[in-house]
Amino acid sequence: MLIVALLPTLSLSAADSSDSQDESWLKEWQLKVRVGYNIGGTAPLGIPSTIRSFEAFHLTPSFMAGGDVMIPFKKRWGVLAGLYIENKGMDCEVTTKGYRMNLKMEEDELDGLYTGHVRQKVRQWMFTVPVQLTFQLNRSLMFKAGPYLSLLFDKYFGGIAFDGYLRKDDPTGPKVVMGTEENQWATYDFPDDMRTFQFGLAVGADWQFYRRFGLSVNLCWGLTGVMKGDFKTVEQTLYPIYGQIGFSYRIR
């Protein structure tokens, strides 16, 4: 929604009245290369009440690079397809109260309700193929929306539970205190439980602000959870929801 609110400002600055006379530019196809940065999270839709606060959000090397081509098919409408290589990472710290965790290590499970700090790290390097419908507002501004499919080739999902305690099994179970240093906190990592394919929807805009150079914003909303269906460490399904900002260069 913020992106939508942002767009009139962009379009104002990009206003170019001469466009209305000559519309031949609308028939040109566009080839762009782009680099960008993803910022966002792998999070449940609707934070459960057992997550109490965000303590820290650390930047991750969530870069993207790639190229795409837009072919116009009717007046201002076109279709875009491309190939990107990107990372949707996350590194954040939250506090929880009675949050259900099921930490599995081979056949041994540590299952219970956790109250305390959790630092969660996610790394998802992937190839992404977007297929988007585009709308050319004017020469410099183009909106786009459509699905994407990603193939993950390097993935990590893990973290630590520290400075808190776990009630084993349920709130009446024995308490297990987690400390604030290594060997005193519970680490977990479950890269093998992550899905290899992700699917989602992306909406965004490209603003060609100077000659062939452009800026872009995108919101990528994952519709598949990042973890496989039988994953139980966290109760909720975690969706990758990332905003993307980037620079583009139009080759033609």
Partner: protein, 376 residues
Amino acid sequence: MKILICMSLISLLLVSCFKEEPSNSECDIIDAWVEGEELKAYFYNDADMRIENIPSGDQKIVFTVRSVNGLPPMALHLNMTSGAISNPVNGSVQDFSKGPVIYTVTSEDGQWHRQYTVSFTKVVTPPKFNFEHYKLEEPKNKYYMWYEVADDGTQNEQIWATGNAGFIIAKPNASADAYPTTPDVNGYEGSCVQLTTRDTGKWGKTFGKPIAAGNLFFGEFDSQYAITNTLWTTKMGIPFTEEPLKVTGYYKYKAGPEFTDKNGNVIAGRIDEPSIYSVLYRNQNAAGEKVVLHGDDVLTSDLIVSIAQVASLPETDEWKPFEMVFVNKAPIDATILADRGYNLALVFSSSKTGDTFEGAVGSTLCVDKVEITLKK
């Protein structure tokens, strides 16, 4: 600018969805006490009128009194998890002379309950232990615990403790016989207790605690520190009202094949050893506060008045006797002794340095027919 917008977009997505804090679902009794000048006479000392920091796994709260007969009805005060309520009501007067009273604690959210059995008894620790009385720990029946039976048939579960409650965190699926402390029907006479140093698996390694020595000791095990401060899990010692002179018994020992350090690396040539010792210490400090020694200070505290240690326990497949004589470090006050002012810790472990996670997986110490010789 755009970075800011994007970041605010994301944080909006996330932060805007915080919900109201859920009510507490825990329902523990943390401290329990009785108070009043008129009640002091029924207790050996004032410290016995309070039981604090009750381990989260405990379901029994036992007060020790001089005599149960003639015990007046008393108001029991409880410190519970915030928002929890109890039935009978916190602070209500109950007649404990008729036997234990069951308290049901309900959590603030109303969803969870815990039952505690509160009793006032005259605890007598016998001087002889044959390890015939053991059962699976309630309510989950995952591992064994040991108790003693008095002449009048009452069971006393307050004497022996083991580290089994910590092992369940590392190996929740282990069968009861795969725990570090288990019974063995092939004792010197009847059953004995068998202590085995165990591998704690992946979780143990994660927490830098690759092994768990089998142990059995006088006192209490508080599993909440199993990860953060293992030495604090062992609350060593129980009040003891007579002066011990020596401890005798029978043992068998076999060291495990590979001695490993706390990182799990094999130390070639080092042979594991068991450990049997006993310590009598003053259980109150100068300020009159209750003191319990833990794994980290049970052999070094200034409060120790007497120590006994078995010098050498060679490997043996046959039952062999052992004996350790108490050596006094400080004078023992007869009045303080009679008023439960000293704690006795009696400790058996399958790996002497198991408290620092050094030992050999498979080291096995069997113990039976233990007797404390008391000063007449």
